[in-house]
Amino acid sequence: MFGCGRMKKESTAGIRRADWVLLAVCLLSAVLSALYLAVSSREGSRVVLCADGAELYEMDLPEQGSVRLLITCEDQQTPRVSVYEGEELPQTEYNLLCAERDGVRMLSADCTDQICVRHRKIKQEGESIICLPHKLTVEIRGGAPAQETLDGMVK
């Protein structure tokens, strides 16, 4: 076989000007869109649950303590949302959500990839946790208070 010393350094050194331009454009657009989001985002006060694009449920984030929501779905039907109070977890498809004043996170779910459970807590308006296998999105919104709330009139 040939010796390694005869290797030509053609490929790694072959980065051209167009490559750097492309790299710069990509990084710049990432930074710009991040800046846009950072500037335009505010802390949200409501959490909205959507399944398959349709709105399921919305509530204000609790002022104190935490509210746990259980989303269950049986046989491909429209999911149901209920306040979870430490009963046993259901045998059917479920996502267990914890809403606190400083954000919302997924406590547990029986979905296949567990990406929603590993997702960090969300608080900024427009942020969302998405459970792809269950087609569930949990979104933070701000602005006008929700119509249907659990403790809406306490304020």
Binding site: A18, L27, S29, S33, T137
Partner: protein, 174 residues
């Protein structure tokens, strides 16, 4: 070709073991894409060499390997959703890389970056379509950044590997 597919499968498996989910979904190294980038790079240089056998059509081989790898590894390590999302990302990324190659002003490095970025954009498009929501675009900045970085890394790795592959082929070791 079978060996390259096996290699891509192994890279898929290795990637599924990597704990690269810092609270934000979708960031992956895209290791299996290394095979595709490598084959495209092979194709770019093959005008100068006398390549034989199936290596005469690296682009088709890359497309077939990409498709088979996603379906197979999807059934093995993932689920139907994993297949749908990686397929949309892969198709987007592959077309973008072909376009980049056709433009002839990018080296393998630039093509790989293009592929990485477009993979993520393809997945976002699919996610926003399946979920019927626009909120997924919140991930765009971080996915752009990740796609660029991973594409750059893969491009450099592929560019470094390519001369070795060529010599292996010349020595009939492939």
């Amino acid at each position: 070709m079978g060996m390259l597919l096996a290699l891509a499968m192994i890279l898929s498996y290795v990637e599924s073991l990597l704990p690269l989910t810092p609270g934000i979904p979708g960031i992956k190294v895209g290791l299996p894409n290394l095979i595709v980038v490598l084959l495209l790079g092979w194709d770019m240089q093959s005008a100068t060499t006398d390549s034989g056998q199936w290596f005469e059509r690296p682009v088709r081989v890359a497309a077939v390997i990409n498709l088979l790898r996603i379906v197979l590894s999807g059934f093995l390590f993932g689920n139907l959703f994993a297949i749908i999302y990686s397929l949309s990302g892969a198709v987007c990324s592959f077309l973008a890389m072909l376009l980049g190659r056709r433009m002839r002003c990018f080296s393998l490095f630039g093509i790989s970056v293009l592929g990485g970025v477009c993979h993520n954009i393809g997945q976002l498009l699919m996610a926003s379509w399946v979920l019927k929501t626009q909120t997924v675009w919140y991930y765009l900045p971080v996915l752009l950044l990740a796609g660029t970085a991973m594409g750059a890394v893969l491009g450099i790795v592929a560019g470094t590997l390519l001369p070795y592959c060529r010599r292996m082929q010349q020595g009939n070791h492939l």
